[in-house]
């Protein structure tokens, strides 16, 4: 193995950490724990983006890192903490599928993602290309989390965690998207979270609970 420069080794380590956090989120039973993990995931993402920006001289990545830090590490977790406290929904919740099974499915997804990413990362010219597989795995794991959760807030966190994975994928495959697009995406995500905030209050008001199990009336008969 050729020795990588240290900062890239750190990026790799952060990538591994991102994956680990994704798994931790899958196994987390408490909403507050989930929010904390989400904040950590954002922090790892911001740090690795900043390191990539520094090591490759891609200045627009600094903005992207700052945006991640501001939105996903500070603003959104704060908002979620606030929401959880206000709605008093921090109970232990068992997911739909028990946790060890979810984990096993998660491992299968990781293998799938790695295989899928392999041909692409071979073509990529970035120094961070090997982390693309991890990014894809994070996306799939977040997807899995959305499927196995029945509560509103965990589903949203799963959605945002998916966004994290996508940003990471963009960073590792192409050093990020053009700045305008990243700004637009960030704006959409921000608006999305606020829309959801309103929405969660509406659900709470109407159903007196945030359990989406109440929301299974609309099915094909």
């Amino acid at each position: 193995m050729t020795a990588l420069a240290y900062h890239l080794q750190i990026v790799n380590l952060l990538a591994a950490l991102l994956l680990l956090i994704s798994f931790a989120m899958l196994s987390q039973r408490r909403v507050v724990g989930l929010v904390t993990l989400f904040a950590w995931q954002g922090a790892a993402l911001a740090l690795s983006t900043a390191i990539v920006a520094w090591s490759t001289g891609q200045h627009h990545l600094y903005y992207s890192a700052a945006m991640t830090l501001g939105l996903k590490v500070i603003a959104m977790p704060w908002y979620f903490y606030h929401l959880v406290k206000k709605l008093n929904v921090n109970r232990v919740v068992e997911p739909m599928i028990n946790i060890p099974t979810t984990m096993l499915i998660g491992i299968v997804l990781v293998i799938f993602a790695f295989n899928l990413a392999l041909p692409i990362s071979e073509m990529s010219g970035t120094v961070t290309r090997s982390t693309l597989g991890i990014a894809m795995a994070c996306v799939l794991l977040a997807f899995l989390m959305m499927i196995t959760r029945t509560k509103a807030i965990p589903q949203v966190i799963g959605f945002l965690s998916m966004e994290n994975g996508l940003f990471f994928a963009a960073t590792s495959a192409t050093y990020g998207m053009p700045l305008v697009v990243e700004l637009g995406v960030a704006l959409d995500v921000l608006v999305g979270v606020f829309v959801l905030g309103i929405f969660i209050f509406q659900i709470r008001e109407t159903f007196d609970s945030l359990d989406l199990k109440h929301m299974e009336k609309l099915k094909e008969k």
Partner: protein
């Protein structure tokens, strides 16, 4: 060759003799951290001596297997201690067994002890044996995964080669090894019946695992089992050190490095033991039905480590 045999014998004896000391050190650290007055570090030796001087009491229903099991367990642990490089790397035993065989040796010891526990026919023995089998059933694949990760990096399952490769290498961050190390720590805790999986100092039927199996043993049999237990902890610690922190070990034919290696291993064991006792003090024992999750996490980490190795370091 003869130097190799000499080293081998010296290292095995050293392991057997030092093992209770490590146990004593862990107990002492724990007592300090809990604010109790600590027993002397040599306490395990004293208990062993006391046990050896007692008369053995054996149940009427016991078969020869029951008497034989402690010797078997001790022999297995001694053999394992001989395989794992502690101070020197060129051991003449090592080519005989690689990491996979090592897992087999641990399993052999466990099977005998479990059989012996069921042999008497008391409910506690059976319960302990069943729980212990559950733990090992979950821990073993995880342990194998950890070994696979380490052997993928060094392209060999032979411990000396793994150690030599890792010790020689320029420092590099291996996320895969970091994952494997955490997984290995969790597995060691489970395999050695420590908190949070088991509590070595409890005899509460709801929670005990390992202690339930050896309730019927006394005197020299108990002494051997306790000693073998200490040896197991020592071997696992040495294994962890060899895999993840091999620096300082005496490599092939380097006799002069032996004193330094000895100092290094003692220092590492001291730190490791202190860390173990610290973790035991700060964590609470998990309920039995959460143990599969604990070990599942270890397995997951080990598998992730391996996958990440393929992706990032392959």
């Amino acid at each position: 060759m003869s130097a190799g045999i000499l080293l081998q014998v010296a290292q095995t004896l050293l392991a057997i003799l030092l093992a209770p000391l490590l146990m004593g050190w862990v107990n002492q650290c724990r007592a300090w951290l809990q604010g109790r007055s600590a027993p002397p570090i040599t306490q395990p030796y004293r208990s062993l001596r006391k046990l050896f001087h007692k008369d053995a009491v054996i149940a009427h229903t016991a078969s020869p297997l029951f008497r034989f099991a402690p010797y078997m367990k001790f022999a297995c642990m001694a053999l394992a201690a001989g395989i794992v490089p502690t101070i020197a790397n060129d051991l003449s035993f090592s080519p005989a067994a690689d990491v996979i065989a090592l897992v087999g040796i641990f399993a052999l010891a466990r099977v005998f002890l479990a059989l012996a526990a069921m042999d008497i026919g008391t409910p506690f023995g059976t319960l302990g044996a069943r729980r212990d089998m559950l733990v090992s059933f979950l821990a073993e694949p995880a342990l194998l995964m950890v070994f696979f990760t380490a052997s993928l990096i060094s392209q060999s399952t032979e411990l000396p080669i793994i150690v030599a490769t890792l010790a020689h290498k320029a420092f590099a961050i291996h996320p895969s090894l970091a994952f494997a190390a955490v997984a290995f720590w969790m597995i060691s805790v489970a395999e050695n019946a420590r908190i949070p999986v088991d509590n070595p100092s409890t005899h509460l039927e709801l929670t005990m695992i390992h202690e339930a199996m050896i309730l019927e043993y006394s005197a020299r049999h108990l002494a051997l089992i306790e000693w073998a237990g200490a040896l197991k902890l020592f071997t696992y610690s040495a294994l962890g050190i060899a895999l993840f922190l091999p620096w300082g070990i005496a490599l092939q034919g380097d006799i002069a490095a032996l004193p330094l290696a000895l100092a290094a291993i003692v220092a590492k064991l001291a730190v490791g033991g202190a860390a173990l006792s610290f973790m035991e003090v700060v964590s609470a024992k998990v309920r039995l039905f959460r143990v599969p999750e604990f070990l599942g996490t270890a397995f997951l980490l080990a598998v992730l480590g391996m996958l990440i190795h393929f992706l990032l370091e392959g």
